[in-house]
């Protein structure tokens, strides 16, 4: 059965999570800056032997079907793009968290990583096709991290999935966050935000983690990014890539139309692209050993 988490316990849970590697942390900060260049990313990767090896392995995996093997890290990063490099780096140092079985949501191990990857791809597609003035690569990274709080509270929700579904269905407004709060005292966005602070993530990523279900509450300057991930998350859930019991049990904030132009046809194209890209990335990132 579920068990309430105190503020102190939440801090203990957050403290028990391994810190990000220096390289991953710097990558997140550099790529969140508007004026960064690819060379900045290449320089960071070059200084991390482990990440260099993984990036080369990914780019030469079957998914990218290269004719000639890439052996230089400059070319590997250019070819993969910064978003995939960030994905490899995160999978590498937080893989255990992403891979964790979410028994509190009746979701098998790997479900969180797959949902996050789908959300990342979908958020980037929304940024690209929705006529948005935000970095598509940053939308991807934000999508990868948005649900990380579920890994922190899932164990405490174990055995109470039916209760959570019942709680959500009795409220006027569908919102699984209410069930999480009622059962364990915190919802996954609050727990994720505590981890974002401990990891010293860039503010825009922390805002996405905290407000991806209620994007109107985000700071104005970050709203476009938060709305992009809000839609990306919903698209991932609609496509069957949720994390179990909470899937689709949230409100869609229709104010997204203030930031994103999306028609039923664009949505269909986005959903199709997400499926295609997901298949490619899932298998290639698996080969890297990160994420799995």
């Amino acid at each position: 059965m579920s068990k309430k988490i105190s503020q102190e316990e939440l801090q203990k849970i957050v403290a028990s999570v391994p810190m990000l590697s220096t390289c991953a942390s710097q990558l997140l900060h550099v790529t969140a800056k508007e004026d960064h260049e690819l060379i900045d990313v290449i320089d960071l990767v070059r200084n991390d032997a482990n990440l260099t090896a993984r990036a080369l392995k990914v780019v030469n995996s079957a998914s990218f079907s290269l004719v000639n093997k890439i052996t230089s890290i400059d070319r590997a990063v250019s070819y993969l793009g910064e978003r995939i490099v960030v994905g490899v780096a995160l999978g590498d140092c937080a893989g255990k968290l992403f891979e964790k079985e979410l028994s509190g949501y009746e979701a098998k191990d790997g479900s969180l990583w797959r949902h996050d990857l789908r959300t990342a791809i979908a958020s980037r597609e929304v940024a690209l096709q929705g006529g948005m003035d935000i970095s598509p690569a940053l939308a991807f990274t934000a999508g990868l991290l948005h649900d990380i709080g579920k890994a922190l509270i899932s164990d405490y929700l174990d055995g109470s999935v039916a209760d959570a579904v019942e709680i959500v269905s009795t409220k006027n407004e569908l919102n699984y966050l209410d069930a999480e709060k009622e059962l364990v005292g915190f919802d996954h966005t609050q727990a994720g935000y505590e981890l974002a602070k401990a990891w010293q993530l860039p503010e825009e990523l922390a805002e996405v983690i905290l407000h991806h279900h209620e994007p109107s509450k985000a700071k104005d300057e970050f709203k476009p990014l938060v709305y992009a991930v809000h839609l990306g998350d919903n698209i991932a859930m609609l496509g069957g890539g949720g994390t179990g019991s909470d899937s689709m049990r949230y409100q869609l904030d229709n104010a997204y139309t203030d930031f994103i132009k999306i028609t039923p046809n664009t949505l269909a194209t986005v959903m199709l692209n997400v499926d295609i890209e997901f298949t490619k990335l899932e298998s290639s990132l698996n080969h890297s050993g990160g994420g799995n």
């Binding site: 999935v161 859930m237 609609l238 496509g239 069957g240 499926d275 295609i276």
Partner: protein, 162 residues
């Protein structure tokens, strides 16, 4: 018991009584199920989108992905297994097609999928005798070929039959 697992955009059919056809976590996707009582064949398609005109190359590669290419493809496969090629005498059931709470219709993709499928079935003179569509939750569907029994499941809910 053989298990035939269908992913998004897959379709398949079986007449081996020991088989089970299964698809996981339908969100806005719709599972179309054909049961042919005469030959005791069961077929299913896991349809993701209503209309293949957005990407005809994808439809050629994976016909099960779109409503307008999936239904002819499934009927063709079942036709090759001795069923009527236009679905005559088949029992049709539909499930899935969930939606998120959206007041301006753009995200009602589950509803659009279901509608496109029903229109297409109508053009074959077919119609569903049972459906479990809509709602705000994911569904996993399993059909036993021997009994033609369809079992649905969703996290946090007791299993149910269609």
């Amino acid at each position: 018991m053989g298990q035939i697992i269908l992913g998004v955009g897959d379709y398949g059919a079986s007449n081996s009584p020991e088989d089970e056809i299964k698809t996981f976590a339908l969100g806005s996707c719709v599972s179309v199920i054909f049961l042919d009582p005469k030959s005791r064949t069961v077929g299913m398609a896991h349809i993701a989108l209503p209309d293949s005109s957005i990407n005809s190359a994808k439809a050629a590669e994976k016909p099960g992905y779109f409503a307008d290419s999936a239904i002819p493809a499934l009927l063709k496969q079942m036709g090759a297994m001795g069923c009527d090629k236009r679905g005559k005498g088949m029992i049709v059931k539909l499930c899935g097609g969930a939606n998120v709470m959206d007041t301006n219709d753009t995200f009602q993709i589950g509803k659009r999928n279901a509608l496109a499928i029903k229109k297409l079935l109508w053009s074959y003179g077919m119609g569903a005798i049972a459906e479990d569509l809509g709602g705000n939750y994911s569904r996993t569907v399993a059909i036993s070929v021997a009994a033609g029994q369809i079992t649905l499941s969703s996290p946090g809910k007791p299993n149910w039959q269609l």
